[in-house]
């Protein structure tokens, strides 16, 4: 709410009104009862936007780590910032968190400009830094209690322990926890102030697949609680599994952005249906005649490109119709790995740190 003064066009009286920037209000002049419409000046704030980054840039000496990127994170979504090591993920997220100072660009967090208003929104956000390691000799519960006491707004610790499935570990010292548990505590920690936005910088790096899935579960729970999650990762499965919206960053630039489906349809290959051990050349020709793109592979399989999954049934019914024999089928869908490969010519996971 901001205060705004207006001059009444009828009686020239100055009147004061309150409203949100950009809002249009019908007001009544207190002196002469004239009704009128006023627009509260200022940028109209989109209440659905959690993070707004525009033309953000970070230069280290002679390295441009983040190169003029812009994006918007909506409230309540899991936003995945996907990119290989050294792409500029941490630099970006830490600029949003006011830990690093941008070389150029602007960031609005929950409507506040982080350059000037970061302190005012500290209570409403929470972060898990990359490779975070908390105080060695606090128990799990103490760790949560300690950080919660730093805030005015405090969530119930028991509920957090419950939700993160940490009750059975609450008395263990942090230093004695496994890597997976440490990360779960790290995510749990980011809930102690019941924040609106949670930043997680590579929360599953270095974990084994089982521990990784457990952390994913915990992150999925955050969305269920209505939190906005800004997640950086170099695991495409993580983004595929969790994210509502994905931005792929490569060498400091966002090279693609959208929902998983959008990315796959825009940049991905078509799905390939493998018909196993089908040595009939007739079958291939038949499918070609029916308008499918079909190839024989060297080992006796037929590969058919299909646009979407429903086409599988169509292909199979054609085969059955002609009584063509085969051992089975295999469907290989397109994935983010492939999208990344197409966009950059490099593999996501093998990209060396620069």
């Amino acid at each position: 709410m901001i205060e705004q003064r207006f001059k009444c066009p009828n009686c020239q009286e100055i009147a004061t009104f309150y409203g949100n920037p950009g809002e249009t209000k019908v007001v009544t002049c207190a002196a002469c009862n004239t009704k009128g419409r006023v627009i509260i000046p200022g940028e109209k704030q989109d209440n659905n936007v959690a993070i707004e980054v525009s033309h953000l840039k970070k230069v280290y000496d002679d390295l441009i780590a983040v190169n003029d990127i812009s994006f918007t994170v909506k409230k309540g979504e899991i936003f995945a910032f996907l990119g290989p090591n050294g792409a500029g993920k941490t630099t970006t997220v830490e600029m949003i968190e006011s830990i690093r100072t941008p070389t150029a660009g602007a960031i609005r967090l929950l409507g506040a400009d982080t350059k000037t208003g970061f302190n005012q929104i500290k209570e409403r956000i929470s972060i898990l830094p990359q490779e975070f390691h908390s105080f060695e000799r606090f128990t799990v519960r103490e760790t949560l209690t300690y950080f919660s006491k730093l805030y005015k707004k405090r969530a119930n610790i028991d509920e957090i322990l419950d939700a993160m499935d940490l009750q059975s570990h609450e008395k263990k010292l942090y230093r004695n926890l496994s890597g997976g548990l440490k990360q779960r505590v790290g995510v749990a920690l980011s809930l102690v102030n019941d924040p609106e936005i949670v930043f997680l910088d590579e929360p599953t790096t270095g974990l084994d697949p089982k521990a990784r899935r457990e952390v994913w579960q915990v992150i999925a729970n955050l969305r269920n609680k209505g939190k906005t999650v800004f997640l950086t990762t170099h695991y495409m499965e993580e983004a595929e599994h969790l994210a509502d919206h994905i931005a792929i960053i490569h060498k400091g630039k966002i090279i693609a952005e959208g929902s998983l489906q959008e990315l796959l349809t825009t940049y991905g290959e078509k799905t390939t249906l493998y018909i196993k051990n089908c040595h009939s050349e007739d079958a291939r020709q038949l499918l070609e005649e029916k308008g499918f793109e079909a190839h024989s592979s060297g080992n006796g399989d037929i590969m058919v490109k299909i646009d979407y999954k429903e086409k599988v049934l169509e292909v199979l019914s054609e085969l059955r119709h002609e009584c063509i024999e085969y051992d089975g089928v295999d469907i290989r869908g397109s994935n983010l790995e492939e999208v990344f490969l197409r966009l950059t010519g490099a593999r996501l996971t093998e990209e060396a740190e620069t």
Partner: protein, 369 residues
């Protein structure tokens, strides 16, 4: 400034500290062991000879021969005091436990006694009554020497008598010297390494970045940590004093100046730790740098042995080291009761503390580049 947050952090630091066997060992047990060990080695070195100071105001053949006879007993280690020294002041300044004065006219009186039966001369024996064992030995040695002389000179008549004068001097041993040194050393170690952990390990582990996004301010955090460091410093000081009093019976004066020096020392070395942590980012390397600074300082600044007994080049170096002034300040404040010296040294410690702590705070930042 939110004091509740400061209090919380302080209490959590203590709790976490009690769980770390390493830190408890280094800040409590290690100093105790060193004190006991050094105390046992150096205080137990009993002298086989007793030192007797002699002021010969007569300076004649006879007085010289008395000194020679005393020397020949082989029990005494004779040290001469010049004629011009004021004896009471000399005893006080140099902490002299045993001293005899041969009066002017000694030879004269003895020679006169051959013709004048009433002629007599008295040797004065100054001693420290607290040193009962030494006194007994020295008194019997001196009396028997004088008796022998009387016998020789006059067949039994007492010409040379002995008057006794007790002077209370303060009795400072190695342990009195060592305990303040140990206190300074322990606080130095705690403060430097604690500060380094907070500024390197906590940075690497992301704790500082996490804190940066929570409402705690840097001043609240630093205040909480300094309170904790002071808590440690006072525990270590109490333990060192406790061992000194219980095991070695030292006398300690706890006064405002002692407390101020302890506090300033903690700030001083926390500041040095911050500065190291600012330039050496890896915890292990920073610890090594801290060792490279604190270990030589411990030896050069007179923690174990008086700087005055070292080569003059080391004495010059010592005066550039903050720990030297901590040691001197603490010794004068809590043991020697020399308040002027304590004040001067304490003042220098305060100046060092202000410089290093402020520089440390200014140089340390939580933000990343």
């Amino acid at each position: 400034m939110n004091l509740k947050i400061v209090g919380t952090d302080f209490l959590y630091s203590i709790r976490s500290w009690t769980r770390s066997r390493g830190t408890v060992f280094w800040s409590l047990l290690f100093p105790v062991m060193l004190i006991l060990l050094f105390g046992a080695i150096f205080s137990g070195m009993g002298e086989s000879k007793y030192t007797l100071y002699v002021q010969d105001l007569d300076n004649t053949d006879m007085s010289h021969s008395l000194v020679t006879i005393l020397n020949k007993t082989n029990v005494l280690n004779i040290k001469n005091v010049t004629k011009n020294d004021d004896i009471t002041k000399y005893i006080k300044d140099n902490n002299i436990k045993n001293l005899i004065v041969i009066p002017e006219g000694y030879e004269n009186d003895i020679t006169r006694s051959f013709s004048d039966p009433s002629a007599k001369v008295n040797i004065t024996y100054y001693f420290d009554p607290t040193e009962t064992q030494t006194n007994q030995i020295l008194r019997s040695v001196i009396s028997s020497v004088l008796e022998g002389l009387n016998m020789q000179l006059t067949q039994g008549k007492t010409i040379i008598g002995l008057t006794e004068q007790s002077t209370v001097t303060e009795n400072f041993g190695f342990i009195d010297f060592f305990i303040p040194g140990m206190i300074g050393f322990t606080i130095m170690q705690q403060s430097i390494y604690g500060s380094i952990e907070r500024n390197t390990k906590f940075r690497k582990d992301g704790i500082l970045r996490k804190l940066l996004t929570t409402p705690i301010t840097r001043s609240e955090w630093i205040l909480a940590k300094m309170l904790f460091m002071l808590f440690l410093a006072f525990i270590s000081t109490s333990v060192a004093i406790g061992v000194g009093v219980l095991a070695f019976g030292i006398k300690v004066n706890i006064n405002l100046l002692t407390i101020i020096i302890v506090i300033a020392t903690s700030f001083l070395f926390s500041g040095i730790g911050m500065i190291i942590g600012r330039f050496v980012k890896e915890e292990e390397t920073a610890d090594m740098a801290a060792g490279a600074i604190s270990f030589p300082m411990m030896f050069l600044a007179g923690t174990f042995f008086a700087v005055e007994s070292m080569p003059s080049i080391i004495q010059i170096i010592a005066r550039a080291l903050p720990l030297y002034y901590v040691n001197e300040g603490l010794r004068n404040a809590m043991i020697y009761m020399n308040q002027t010296e304590a004040l001067i040294n304490g003042g220098i410690v305060l100046i060092f503390a202000a410089i290093f702590f402020i520089a440390g705070v200014i140089l340390t930042k939580w933000k990343e580049d």
